[in-house]
Symmetry: C2
Subunit: 349 residues, 2 copies
C-alpha cells in the first residue's frame, strides 16, 4: 500500500506492517508447540483442534481465562519479557489441573500501545516454551495495537486454556470429609499474585531497584519477583495416576491466597485449619511481610506464602501421596493442615 | 479482614471486596446464559462444559481470541459500557462461524485500573446478552484490577470462544474455483476495526464530540461509532442448512478490511476481484474517507466499508443463497465480486 498525504492507519498509531512481522514470528513459535490434534495454521480465523477422545466415556471440556496482573510492571522495569508468558500459561494450566483436566490448547491476548516485534517475540517465546512443557498447543491468539491505551513499552497479557477430562474423573471436592489431611505443594515465589502490594513495598516504601540485592532476599529484586509461576501438571498428573481415587480436591492458590482459594473447593459444612508452622515460607514472603508491616491475616489473603497448590486427600492416601511427591522430586510437599466441620472458612494456627 | 496501619492490599490499589461484589453480579448475569452443557458455577477454577456430541462423527473444536480495540475509547467518551461486550462476543463468534463452527462457550478477560462494579456489570451485561443471542454459555472469565495500568474509568477487554464442528463440514476455502461468485453481507458500521484512525479523524481532525451530529453522518457521533458488531450466526446457520454443500469459504472482515481478510481463505493460485460499485457503503465510511483524505486503498485496508462477512460459493448456489438471505431478512446481501486465478490478493474495480 502506498502511503500518501492523507491520514492513514500508520499515522493514526497503528502499524499494520509491524503487525504482520510480529505475526510471522508468532507463527513460527506457535508451530513448535503443535500437537497432533492441531488442524489449522496460525492466522486462520479460528484455531482448529481435534481432541483425542479415545478412552473417554463422557468427555468434559474444562476452560479458564487468566492474566498476569501487575507482575508485568516488574517485567517492564527489568526489561525482561520472556518469563511472563510462562506465568500466564502455567497459571491457566494449574486452574484446570485442579479439577482433574489435562490441557489441550491455549490462546493468548497481547495488547500494546505500539507494537515492538522484539518484545512480542520474547513474550510469545515464553508462552510457547510453557505450552511445550505442558504439552498444550498454542492454537492462536490476538495481538492488538491500541495507541493511547498502554504506555510505551508496556502491554497487557491474557490467556485462555481448554483442557479435557472424563466426567467421572473430575475432581470437585464433593468427597471431602472432616479429618482429611491438607497437603501443600511449594510455590516458586509470588507466582502471579500480590504484585500491586509487593511492588509498593519493594519499589515505593523501600525505594529498591530491580537490580538491588537487599538483605533478607535470596537474590536480586527483579530476579526474585520475576520467578515464573510453576506448572504443577507434571507432578500432579503422576500423583493422580499413582494415587488414583484418593485425591478429593485440589486448589490453586492464586489471588486471595489460601484464605480465599481453599473455600472455593469446600462443600457445605466444612472448614480448614492450616498450621502455619508446618512449612517455612520462602524469604520473599518474610521480607514483604516485615517491610510492609503486614499482619498474618493480610499476608495470607494476599500472597500464596509458599504454597502454590493444595491437595485434600483421603486420610489413608496421605503417605502414598507424600512418598510419590518425594520420589518425583518434590521433597517440599507437606501436610499443612486438616479438614474440620465448619463454615467454609480457613483458620490459621 | 480488619484493615490496620500496615500496608494492605486495598491501600496498594487493589480492592478485594469490590472484586467480590463484581464477581457476585457477574455470576448472576452469567447464570442467565447457561446452556445444558454447563456443569460448573462461575467462580470455580475452571469452567466445565460437556459438549453434546450427538450426530458428530469427528468433532473438531474451533477457538478464537479477540479484543475490541480502541472502540473502547469511544465507549469511555460516551460513558456507555453495555455495547462493547456485544462487540466482543459477536466478533469471536463470527471468527469461528466462518469455518463452519457453532459456538459452545465464551470466557472474557476484563482488566481495569480500579474496579467499578457498575461499569463491570454494564460490560458483562452486554457480554451476557450477546452470549444468549448466540446460544453460547458465558462459562467464566477473569476480572483483574491492575492499578497503574489503566487510566481511571478505563479498561481493556478480551474474549475467547470455543465452538464445535464436524470435521467433514468444516469450511476452509479448499473448494474455491475461478469464476466463483463473492457474496457480501452488510455490516452495521465499523464493527470493531479501524477505530484508531476513525477516532483521529472524528475527534482530532474534526474536533467533534460524542454528541455531535455532523452533516453526512446518519446519527450522533457516539451512537454511530458504537453500533455493535453484528453476529452473522443466525443468518449464516440458516444459509448453511438450506444451501448445504455450496458454501466454499467465508471470511470475517476485521482488521485489514477486505484487502487483508479475503486472502486468509484463498487457496494458492487464486485471487479475488471486488466491484466496489456493487454496493453502497454506509454513510460512516464515506464520511471517514472524505474527512480523512483516505485513498480507496487505505480505506479498504482499514475499514470493512460496509461488508462484514463474505461468502464464496459455487456458481450454481448463488441464486439460492441470495434468495435465502432475502427470505431471512437480509436484503442487502449482494454479489460484490468474483474469484479469478491470481496471486492471493484482492483487486478493486
Amino acid at each position: 500500500m502506498t502511503i500518501r498525504a492523507g491520514l492513514d492507519y500508520r499515522s493514526a498509531g497503528v502499524d499494520i506492517d509491524a503487525g504482520a512481522e510480529a505475526v510471522r514470528r508468532i507463527r513460527d513459535l506457535a508451530r513448535g508447540t503443535f500437537t497432533p490434534g492441531v488442524l489449522s495454521e496460525i492466522g486462520s480465523f479460528g484455531g482448529l483442534f481435534q481432541p483425542d477422545l479415545t478412552g473417554l466415556t463422557d468427555p468434559v471440556l474444562v476452560s479458564s481465562a487468566d492474566g498476569v496482573g501487575t507482575k508485568l510492571k516488574v517485567a517492564f522495569l527489568a526489561g525482561r519479557h520472556d518469563t511472563v508468558g510462562c506465568d500466564l500459561v502455567n497459571h491457566c494450566v494449574n486452574d484446570i489441573l485442579v479439577q482433574g483436566a489435562t490441557p489441550l490448547f491455549f490462546l493468548d491476548y497481547l495488547a500494546t500501545g505500539r507494537l515492538s516485534p522484539d518484545v512480542i517475540e520474547a513474550v510469545v517465546r515464553g508462552i510457547a516454551a510453557a505450552c511445550t512443557e505442558n504439552r498444550c498447543a498454542l492454537l492462536g491468539g490476538e495481538t492488538a495495537e491500541m495507541p493511547g491505551f498502554y504506555a510505551d513499552g508496556e502491554y497487557d497479557l491474557a490467556g485462555f486454556v481448554v483442557g479435557i477430562a472424563d466426567r467421572d474423573r473430575l475432581i470437585d471436592g464433593r468427597g471431602i470429609r472432616p479429618g482429611d489431611p491438607v497437603i501443600g505443594l511449594p510455590s516458586t515465589g509470588l507466582h502471579t499474585n500480590g504484585y500491586s502490594l509487593a511492588r509498593r513495598i519493594v519499589f515505593d516504601t523501600l525505594g529498591l531497584a530491580v537490580d538491588s540485592a537487599p538483605e533478607g532476599l535470596d537474590g536480586r529484586v527483579g530476579e526474585v519477583l520475576l520467578r515464573p509461576h510453576r506448572s504443577y501438571l507434571p507432578l500432579v498428573s503422576l500423583l493422580l495416576t499413582e494415587g488414583a481415587g484418593g485425591v478429593r480436591a485440589m486448589a490453586h492458590i492464586t489471588g486471595g491466597g489460601l484464605t480465599d482459594n481453599l473455600p472455593r473447593v469446600l462443600p457445605p459444612g466444612i472448614a480448614v485449619e492450616i498450621d502455619t508452622r508446618a512449612w517455612t515460607p520462602p524469604p520473599v514472603f518474610t521480607f514483604l511481610q516485615r517491610h510492609g508491616g503486614l499482619t498474618d491475616a493480610e499476608a495470607f489473603r494476599t500472597f500464596n506464602m509458599g504454597i502454590g497448590l493444595v491437595i485434600i486427600c483421603a486420610p489413608d492416601r496421605r503417605g502414598t501421596l507424600l512418598a510419590a511427591c518425594r520420589r518425583h522430586g518434590e521433597p517440599g510437599a507437606a501436610v499443612i493442615g486438616r479438614v474440620t466441620t465448619g463454615d467454609g472458612t480457613v483458620r490459621y494456627g
